[in-house]
């Protein structure tokens, strides 16, 4: 099934309108109609505002509208708070996203084994999704308080007390929170993808006396490549949503290692410094385009590879 989809994609992408048949053009036109409502809505509520952001990033202030081109970008790039925020966010995403992807894949494979109460585990691992952010924050405060449970545990192991939210370990809390919230759904996506790996191929590999790790790396991971990309993007989106929790835990100006890009944006938004905010947003956006572009290219590479096999 997978092969069919990939082959079709290749054909359509590489053969633009010139070679398309009349039937294909009809499909193109008619399916564009399906796209229209969403496209217009997105244009009005997402693209247009984004254009406004682009405009503001290049003027001196919202009243005068004097064009200053890249001045705002240079200003933001030199800003120490922005650099700190960008570095922290990058560090968090680089650690948390791969970690959650790998962990959820491992859990999915673990639940693939013959284990009792499979569906119970699945449901329970999903349950963090339904806890409201406000009570998550409450619980996290209780757990990681200076006199809290986690510290008691640390002391039991012979360590000293740590003031978690005001230490360099603060990001660990964040990563734990992120994994706790997102592991369940990612795991479900992987379970679905694993069940789609054709059994015949694995059987053939076993007949050819392939080892367990070979089957895992050369067959299963290949088939999972598009799901890995999907889960990575989804986790990336969610890694930006973690700000809400941090914000409720620590407020406007948290400990240095918790100061995220969204804090910077929130604070510039408060001080109505809209040019700075816009410039920061554009920088962030360009960065995202690069990351996601790389992810897509990686997936395409593996996709093509699979088709040839």
């Amino acid at each position: 099934m997978k092969k069919v989809v990939l082959r079709r994609k290749k054909k359509r992408v590489q053969a633009p309108a010139s070679r398309s048949t009349i039937g294909e053009r009809v499909i193109k036109r008619k399916s564009a109609l399906f796209l229209a409502p969403s496209f217009l809505g997105v244009l009005l509520f997402f693209v247009l505002p984004f254009g406004v952001v682009g405009f503001y990033s290049m003027v001196n202030n919202p009243v005068q509208h004097k064009f200053v081109f890249l001045d705002n970008f240079i200003y933001v790039g030199k800003n120490a708070a922005f650099r700190l925020a960008a570095a922290n966010t990058l560090k968090f995403s680089l650690v948390a996203v791969p970690l959650v992807v790998v962990l959820s894949m491992m859990m999915a494979f673990a639940l693939e084994q013959a284990i009792p109460w499979k569906s119970r585990f699945r449901t329970l691992l999903l349950s963090p999704m339904m806890v409201p952010i406000a009570s998550v924050v409450l619980i996290w405060k209780v757990l990681f308080h200076y006199n809290g449970v986690v510290n008691e545990f640390v002391q039991l192991l012979g360590g000293g007390k740590i003031d978690w939210f005001k230490s360099d370990y603060a990001q660990i809390i964040l990563v734990l929170l992120f994994i706790w919230k997102n592991l369940g759904y990612n795991m479900i996506l992987f379970i679905a993808a694993i069940s789609n790996v054709p059994k015949e191929i694995i059987e053939v590999a076993q007949l050819e006396s392939a080892k367990g790790w070979q089957i895992f790396f050369f067959i299963k991971l290949r088939y999972l490549s598009s799901t890995i990309l999907f889960v990575t993007i989804l986790s990336l989106i969610n890694s930006f949503k973690v700000f809400r929790e941090v914000y409720m835990l620590t407020g406007d100006y948290p400990y240095d290692s918790l100061y995220l890009l969204q804090h910077f944006m929130n604070n510039t938004f408060r001080s109505l410094d809209y040019q700075k905010l816009s410039a920061a947003a554009i920088i962030m956006c360009l960065f995202m385009i690069v990351i996601i572009g790389i992810l897509f290219m990686t997936e395409n590479y593996f996709g093509k590879d699979m088709e040839d096999a």
């Binding site: 099934m1 989809v5 193109k28 952001v53 859990m107 409201p132 409450l138 006199n147 938004f269 385009i289």
Partner: protein, 286 residues
């Protein structure tokens, strides 16, 4: 196998602790909660300090089961129920219409994949990734321009057209083999018929799982109402809940538990779909 099971049991237990904790604590009396977690929430340690324990106890089983929190929330202050209803009014239309718009759009993205359409899809992903702080002011401006500021439309409309569901559904829909569409086409079905009779039934599971995700996302919204709805009477429970955290901790657990009920129901009802539905292959093979 035994080791793996044991590991899973431990891992899952850690996962569930916070939820059990919230529910158990909602049955504690006000005094008990204050004595357990007083330290965490007392901002200024003044004269009241001697009544508060120095150690933070993580307690699951209340000394005395009390429904006083629930009585306060449900009977004494109708405010909470009001906010709950606000949440429902804000979230349900968004879920329904976002899915409707997204179904159509994903079909458009699935049925034909030209270069332009791939670019549009890519930009949908980028837009979806923008943090709320970035779109906040532009959203505010658009709402003002359309004269829908301070009405529920200011929340509904951007919600309905959010690219999130489109992205998820397209990913699911593209797994349907093209041959299914082509076969229907040869049998004389129009595009609308293919969409309605072939595509939608195959996507049922994915639809349910996307609905759950969108619901949870908007059920937890905090920033949008704060900026777009100046009238506090219209604020949803999520905003309200994030405010009581600071004040009455005692009530927070009960409200949080009530708050979890809709999500729990959505989960219990849709969990089957969420798990099984994502692998769309019920009955068909590529």
């Amino acid at each position: 196998m035994g080791i793996l099971t044991a590991f899973l049991v431990i891992f899952t237990t850690i996962f569930v602790i916070p939820i059990v904790f919230t529910i158990c604590n909602s049955f504690m009396g006000k005094a008990e909660i204050a004595s357990n977690y007083g330290m965490v929430f007392s901002t200024s340690a003044t004269g009241a300090k001697q009544f508060i324990s120095e150690v933070v106890n993580l307690k699951f089983i209340p000394d005395k089961v009390s429904f006083s929190q629930y009585i306060t929330v449900l009977l004494k202050s109708p405010d909470y129920l009001f906010k709950f209803w606000n949440s429902v009014i804000l979230v349900v239309p968004i879920v329904i219409f976002q899915l409707a718009v997204a179904c159509l759009a994903s079909y458009g993205f699935t049925r034909y994949r030209g270069r332009l359409r791939e670019i549009i899809f890519f930009s949908y992903i980028i837009l979806m990734l923008m943090p709320y702080q970035v779109t906040l002011v532009p959203n505010f401006l658009v709402a003002k321009w359309l004269h829908i500021l301070d009405t529920r439309w200011a929340i509904w409309l951007p919600g309905i057209f959010s690219p999130y569901a489109v992205f998820l559904l397209t990913k699911f829909m593209r797994r349907i083999p093209v041959s299914m569409f082509e076969a229907a086409k040869i049998d004389g079905a129009g595009e609308w018929q293919i969409f309605q009779k072939i595509c939608m039934p195959l996507c049922k599971g994915a639809l349910a799982s996307v609905a759950i995700l969108v619901f949870i996302d908007y059920w937890n919204m905090v920033e949008q109402p704060l900026v777009l709805l100046s009238d506090e009477q219209m604020h949803p429970l999520s905003v309200f809940l994030s405010k009581i955290n600071a004040g009455e901790v005692g009530l927070a657990f009960a409200v949080a538990t009530i708050y979890m009920i809709p999500t729990l129901l959505v989960f219990l009802y849709g969990e089957e779909y969420l798990v099984e539905g994502i692998s769309y292959q019920g009955g068909i093979k590529g």
